[in-house]
């Protein structure tokens, strides 16, 4: 079995035929066909809501299809639960990490499959050693005995990957595994995926990053609105073609940052330091300007943003908005000074998933919308309607819980929530993480418009094309320090990665 030219002519390893799944009145999947051959890396692409995650859940045994058949090695495959999928050799890395925070990292990896010794007791020593080996293979350093609580999202994702490769998976499903990973970690993951393919496994890779799709995958299947669109060899496709099939229309430009007139400095950060996290970080952002904070995951970018906004304390330095100092460690004062922070992790930090779209959108504006301490329902609705319309949030009704929206629309609600506070400085962490192409360019258009209106925007992003397309200036962080500042015309993939990996840091 050759890895570079997997035999699509031979009998496929896993076949989905006419798989259909509905949730209530919503058809998530309509007669989807998918064939995975052993030795191939197969990309599954589609906008959010195209049905990718539902397909993953079906392969994982978490959902049962309403209609259609699955076969593995020509044998009919029926999955009654996640345990069945696992027994069949299907490993899934979910988009959202699913770890047990109280248990050790090693236990998270081997839950239900811990190595045993006499009397069927768990052999903790062997378990930790095996976990250590998995991490070595992935080239990362994570203490297997530490609790999973407090791991960064990237590290959580790495634990998930270690878990998936720890059992001899014949089919490895990866649902946006790279969203939180830095370039080096992505390369390592791909090396592991390729070695799995070489040994006859099939990899199903879901991602919104096309360079990764074309880097890793042999074939590409496109889904749109729950239906199968096409399956082709990657070499027969271009990015433009894939995007056109995903959205069913041409996307003119992915990153339309318009030039805006630069105004006065709105955000100034001087010598910000937090011991062990970041050191002596100084920069400024002017009105109308988008400044990107680039760097590898773990370089301290989000930590700087959180400190600037006052969520975390800092040991030294100061933060000024429009020339006036903002007290440290107080998000309330930061908001009052005109700052807004759209966090990296929507689910945990940005939204109350059970509350309605309306409530979430006006969450940061409760005080302004109330009289005598009582929230005015009408004012709340009017405000929410204004912003959801402006951001084109697609929701059945304003009263619908945010949890029912797609990732892109959830991100818009977070944005609406903060824009409603009429900020002068907007800090946005990974603005399009896990968002489909169509919504992505909408978010970019919005950011560009906001800058045009005079907002100062500090954007943290791990996607280089986004950084290059959107930013007027790029600040690069490496291991807690600001190592490079690049104006728009000097920034390119090489110069940013060069600085982010710490090479020529003083240049």
């Amino acid at each position: 079995m050759t890895a570079d030219a997997p035999g699509t002519d031979g009998a496929p390893l896993l076949v989905l035929d006419g798989v259909t799944k509905s949730f209530g009145a919503v058809a998530a999947l309509r007669g989807v066909h998918l064939a995975l051959h052993s030795g191939e890396a197969h990309a599954l692409v589609g906008e959010n809501g195209a049905g990718k995650s539902t397909l993953v859940k079906i392969l994982a045994g978490a959902h049962a299809p309403d209609a259609g058949a699955m076969t593995l090695d020509g044998q009919p495959l029926r999955l009654r639960g996640p345990a069945d999928a696992r027994a069949a050799g299907i490993a899934v890395i979910y988009q959202e990490p699913t770890l047990f925070p109280d248990l050790s990292v090693a236990e998270n990896i081997f839950m239900g499959r811990q190595p045993l010794r006499g009397l069927r007791r768990i052999d903790t020593t062997a378990m930790n050693r095996d976990a250590e080996r998995l991490f070595q293979r992935l080239g990362v350093r994570i203490d297997p005995t530490r609790p999973a609580r407090g791991l960064s999202i990237a590290d959580q994702q790495l634990v998930e990957i270690a878990k998936a490769i720890s059992f001899d998976a014949r089919v490895l499903v990866m649902d946006e595994p790279t969203a939180a990973l830095s370039g080096v970690e992505v390369e390592r993951l791909f090396a592991v995926a390729r070695s799995l393919c070489e040994h006859g496994a099939a990899v199903l890779f879901i991602s919104h990053r096309f360079n990764e799709v074309f880097d890793l995958c042999h074939r590409v299947t496109v889904l749109r609105d729950g239906a199968w669109v096409s399956s082709d060899r990657a070499t027969d496709l271009t990015v433009d073609e894939v995007v056109r099939r995903m959205v069913g229309r041409d996307v003119a430009s992915l990153y339309p940052k318009q030039d805006a007139e630069l105004r006065d400095t709105l955000l100034e950060v001087r010598g910000l330091t937090r011991a062990g996290v970041f050191t002596d970080v100084s920069f400024s952002v002017r009105g109308g300007e988008i400044v990107a904070l680039a760097g590898l995951v773990g370089a301290g970018r989000s930590e700087v943003a959180r400190a600037v906004f006052g969520v975390d304390r800092y040991d030294a330095g100061e933060v000024l908005v429009a020339g006036r100092a903002v007290p440290a460690g107080n998000p309330g004062r930061a908001i009052a000074a005109g700052m807004a922070l759209v966090p990296e992790d929507r689910r945990q930090q940005g939204l109350v998933m059970e509350l309605s779209v309306e409530r979430n959108a006006t969450l940061a504006r409760r005080r302004a919308l109330s009289r005598l301490g009582l929230l005015l329902g009408a004012a709340e609705r009017a405000e929410a309607r204004h912003w959801t319309r402006r951001l084109q949030v697609k929701t059945s009704r304003l009263g619908a819980p945010v949890a029912t929206l797609s990732g892109g629309n959830q991100q818009k609600v977070v944005l609406a929530k903060w824009l409603a506070t009429e900020p002068r400085v907007l800090i946005i962490d990974e603005p399009t993480r896990g968002i489909d192409v169509g919504t992505k360019s909408e978010v970019h258009r919005l950011l560009s418009e906001l800058a045009g209106e005079g907002l100062a925007i500090l954007m943290i992003s791990s996607e280089l094309p986004e950084v290059l397309g959107m930013a007027d200036r790029v600040l690069v962080m490496h291991e807690g320090r600001l190592v490079r500042e690049l104006p728009r015309d000097e920034a390119d993939e090489t110069s940013i990665m060069f600085a982010a990996t710490g090479q020529g840091a003083t240049a």
Partner: protein, 353 residues
């Protein structure tokens, strides 16, 4: 980078003593150890202070009374630990204890020749049955255990009252061999306490060393993730309630043996003491962490406070306030430990990883 070393965990190189994993205990385990150590220190201090004020506190009889007094609470707390670890709670244990205690008495009353091991088995089985009712209702109704067991707390007690209909069972109605179980000592240690020790050891060992035991932590730590990893969540939670019921049944039989005189009110209000013991012992009320050893230490500590306050001649009204303060202190300690660990982990990951 070969594939073969990923799937099958090698056991060949085995347990070489030079293995680093063997020498240092994992961070997760160390945290538990610190928590239990702090309980032991608190217990030691309490005994020390009380003994300084009144040296009879450590006399043989007094220690024996103490061990006898905490045995039943320890068993219940260990059963409760199983439940709380899965992010559930069993409020019906006091009622199950009362029902089983009365059933044991009635058994001896109607069949005087029954050997005590039979009564023990019957009692445990009846407790397990009550637990199965809890577990079944939770599985079918998909309602939080708090509500279900609040309901069965009253239901089981109601059955108990209906059955007893005001009557009382006396020690004279029970065989002496059974009553001896409640008071006998082996090398000065009450049998009751030995039974409790066995329960603690077995459950503690199970929770730490067996796959299904670890799965209970996983369920309590993140139920959705537990489902996705193929853990049979429903079955495990059901089993946990059956176990908790069985331990309450065991406690009920021992209660009958110890006190001899039984009416339908036996064990009323005990459930909150049991939950308190578990929480003081470091069992997180939101599931996912804690140990049987900790819960047992919590139960011993609560019992000891009761008797040492009496020895110190402190108004018994204060006892409840002290227990309350202790629960708050325990929660505060958990919080401080969590923050310190978080700070340490942050320092670590700053160096890369």
């Amino acid at each position: 980078m070969s594939l073969t070393d990923a799937g099958a965990p090698e056991r060949a190189a085995g347990n070489a003593p030079s293995d680093p994993g063997r020498q240092r205990r994992g961070l997760t385990e160390r945290l538990l150890a610190v928590r239990e150590l702090s309980l032991l220190i608190a217990l030691g201090l309490l005994v020390l202070v009380t003994t300084v004020r009144n040296d009879r506190f450590l006399s043989g009889q007094s220690v024996k009374d103490l061990l006898l007094g905490c045995a039943i609470l320890v068993i219940l707390a260990v059963g409760q630990t199983l439940v709380i670890i899965t992010r559930n709670v069993d409020l019906s244990v006091g009622s199950i204890l009362g029902l089983v205690a009365f059933a044991t008495g009635s058994l001896f009353l109607s069949a005087p020749g029954t050997p005590w091991p039979v009564a023990l088995v019957v009692g445990v089985a009846l407790g397990a049955l009550c637990g199965a009712v809890n577990g079944g209702l939770i599985a079918v109704a998909r309602v939080p255990a708090l509500v279900i067991t609040l309901g069965t707390l009253y239901a089981f007690r109601g059955i108990d009252y209906y059955w007893a209909s005001g009557s009382q069972i006396n020690a004279a109605d029970m065989p002496p061999s059974f009553l001896r179980l409640g008071n006998q000592t082996v090398l000065g240690v009450p049998v009751l306490f030995l039974v409790a020790l066995v329960v603690v050891a077995v459950v503690g060992f199970y929770l730490r060393s067996y796959r299904s035991g670890r799965e209970l932590y996983a369920i309590g730590s993140e139920p959705a993730a537990a489902r996705l990893s193929g853990i049979p969540v429903g079955r495990r939670v059901f089993a946990v309630f059956v176990a908790s019921g069985a331990f309450a049944g065991l406690a009920g039989v021992l209660y009958a043996a110890r006190f001899g005189t039984l009416d339908a009110a036996a064990g009323t209000g005990l459930e909150l003491q049991v939950v308190a013991a578990a929480v003081v012992g470091g069992v997180a009320i939101f599931g996912g962490s804690g140990s049987a050893y900790g819960a047992a230490l919590g139960a011993v500590l609560l019992t000891t406070i009761g008797s040492s306050l009496a020895v110190l001649r402190i108004d018994p009204f204060w006892q409840q306030a002290v227990v309350g303060a202790l629960i708050l202190a325990a929660i505060g300690l958990d919080r401080v430990l969590a923050l310190r660990v978080a700070a340490r982990l942050r320092g670590r990951s700053a160096h890369g990883a």
